[in-house]
């Protein structure tokens, strides 16, 4: 599992930076196209959810996700390595 | 098959509603409409329907709208002061295309006025009383029989157009008891079902969308804000608003001819009475008393949308006389459409025009 912030939704309130017990979020520095400073993730693999969610089959902390007022925080599954065939057209 | 009964007007309206399939009544007592609620309180539970007395009229119409979205046919009954309070949510029902029926047994206004006396003072209010532009359906019974029949019709129109329909009765008709033939079965129209795959507020050619009943997995968003076909709020797009309001108004107003419901007597007449509700009884008496005079009568059963084309049924009309228990509310509407004199005969205070009074007006107008 991989922690992600949906840039389209995040409004830069920084609540996630405040609530994560592992301080995984820190305030962003560079404004995006909408002028929003999206937080940056610091070693998200420390996140309880990232580590253990798959193992236990349920959300284990999720405080940042529950808190995020903009529904911008989520987890995407990281698939194991799969070779991808690339066709190159000349 | 019909069954003869001796029934009060308000009771007949309640019976008509139940026959039309009404299974939710939310109301708040007010003279002279209370008997509608009281009969519902007795009968609804036996039919598996819901009667609830709400905390006020605002809550009543709100609950009725809520119930309607669960698929129920729903109604309320009130009179002037309560009707005034309902107006905001009537606008909501129009905007959200919620079918429902409101019985207004009219009493003397303005304000608390004459709670126990008859009037027809809310005829323009029901048309223009909520903020913004809109269209509604309004029927006006002139007998206990019509309290029944037109309540059924109100439900059918409300369902067909997904628009509030008003039974604009008056205290005289609501409170009087008379003979009525109660039919075994009545013709019942149900709201058009929602077709999955379409958008919740996507209208058909008749400009009416199918009804996405709550609880069936359609996940419909219903809002009083200007919305798109998905039901989502879009409040700063002028074109969206324009199209929505014109559809809501047009679906009803453009059906004017098709749904018109009026009675014509003596179309050749030069003097024509236009009437609805209790005063129509006097007009009919006058015509019966003077069979040779060929007095013209246009009796409206459906008042809104106003059947302006019906005026053309009297090609020889030299004058239209409009007896009303108000200061000429429908007479105003008639004035918009005709070029001959329109003579309002306003009677305020609760008493019915007498045949003599109308005879005098008739003589006078004929002599002109």
């Amino acid at each position: 599992m991989k922690l992600v912030i949906d840039e389209n939704r995040c409004k830069g309130c920084n609540l996630c930076t405040q609530v994560c017990p592992y301080r995984i979020f820190s305030p962003g520095a560079r404004a995006n196209r909408k002028g929003i400073l999206v937080p940056v993730l610091d070693r998200p693999e420390r996140c309880t959810n990232c580590r253990l969610q798959a193992l236990y089959g349920r959300t284990l902390c999720g405080v940042c996700q529950l808190t995020c007022p903009d529904q911008a925080i989520g987890w995407v599954s990281e698939r194991p390595y799969e070779p991808v065939r690339i066709e190159v057209e000349y | 098959m019909t069954r003869i009964e001796f029934m009060q007007g308000n009771a007949a309206s309640a019976e008509g509603a139940l026959a039309a399939g009404c299974r939710f009544f939310g109301g708040y007592p007010i003279t002279p409409s209370t008997e509608v609620a009281e009969l519902m309180a007795r009968k609804m539970p036996k039919l598996g329907g819901v009667f609830v007395q709400m905390e006020d009229e605002i809550a009543s119409i709100a609950a009725v709208i809520g119930a309607a979205w669960t698929g129920k046919k729903a109604m309320t009954a009130t009179s002037g002061p309560g009707f005034s309070l309902m107006l905001e949510n009537i606008g909501f029902a129009i905007m959200t295309e919620t079918p429902l029926v409101i019985v207004n047994v009219q009493r003397g206004g303005p304000s608390t006025g004459q709670p126990t006396m008859s009037a027809q003072g809310d005829m323009l209010q029901c048309r223009f009383g909520s903020h913004g532009d809109m269209a509604i359906l309004a029927l006006a019974p002139d007998s206990v029989q019509e309290m029944y029949d037109l309540t059924v019709k109100a439900f059918n129109l409300a369902e067909r157009f997904r628009c509030p329909a008003f039974l604009m009765a008056d205290e005289i008709i609501g409170h009087m008891r008379e003979r009525i033939d109660v039919p075994d079965r009545v013709e019942v129209v149900d709201r058009k079902p929602f077709v999955p795959g379409r958008l919740p507020f996507e209208a058909d050619d008749d400009r009416v969308p199918g009804f996405p009943t709550f609880g069936q997995g359609h996940h419909t968003h219903v809002t009083g804000l200007t919305h798109d076909a998905r039901g989502y709020p879009v409040t700063t797009d002028p074109a969206m608003h324009d199209a929505l309001v014109r559809r809501l108004v047009g679906k009803v107003e453009d059906a004017r001819r098709e749904i018109a419901d009026y009675r014509v007597t003596n179309p050749d007449a030069e003097v024509v009475f236009i009437c609805y509700g209790a005063p129509a009884r006097t007009v009919r008496q006058l015509v019966a008393d003077r069979p040779d005079d060929g007095i013209g009568v246009l009796r409206l059963r459906l008042v809104w949308p106003f059947p302006e084309h019906a005026l053309a049924e009297f090609p020889n009309a030299r004058a239209f006389v409009v007896p009303e228990q108000n200061l000429g509310q429908i007479a105003r509407e008639v004035e918009r459409h005709v070029r001959v004199p329109v003579i309002p005969v306003s009677k305020l205070g609760g008493e019915l025009h007498t045949p003599d009074e109308l005879a005098r007006v008739y003589e006078e107008v004929r002599a002109r």
Partner: protein
Amino acid sequence: MTFTDWLRADRLPHIWCSGCSNGTILNCTLAAVEAEGWDRDRTVFVSGIGCSSRAPGYVATDSLHTTHGRALAFATGVKLAEPSLNVVVFTGDGDLAAIGGNHFIHACRRNVDMTVVCMNNLIYGMTGGQGSPTTPLGALSTTTPYGASEPAFDLVALAVAAGANHVARWTAYHVKELEKAVKTGLETPGLSFIEVRAGCPTNYGRKNRIREVTDMADHFRTRSMLKTKYDRLVAEGKPVPADAIVVGEFVRRANPAMGVAP
């Protein structure tokens, strides 16, 4: 499924300001209905008008966004007409307690089986920051430019006095507790009322020197006092800070209720 499956993704991002608590409270409520295993097809969200009342528009169920203050009256109609539907109401302090106060106390009295989540930001957010019936004495708003001079409602006390079967208060900071309180509400037959203290950085925060969103969260964290502790202090005659936000469950009872599915 997680609570995010209850969202209308096609409507996000929502209209709420950055840092507004409404989104948080929406999450917690959806997490509770999801945890409760409710069926999206049989659940209806109802609201009035206000920033908070926009919440149902973001939930992928049937939703009824009504007129200002009337949510509970509409919801009563829905629930009594079809008790098998689950009904949750989102409302704000203005919507519920100003214009909607009568429906509030009557819904509690009838004890209609539904769950009411009030996003109490102590202000009218949607209309730009006017005082509400919960604005604390002295607080600034556009209609209390010299500080609010009217006493404020204790919404929890009102709900209890009016008859609700379950009453709780939390803040938007207490996401887990809130989720749990809502879940208890869903499970309690009769009306469940959950007041959630919410931050409105745009209007309340800016005018009352809680400018940063994270300051508001701190405010909630530091001012909150568990009801158990509060009761203890009161019993012992000890002082309670004037600005304490007493959080916890205030009542859970089994009085007669209406609209309970058979």
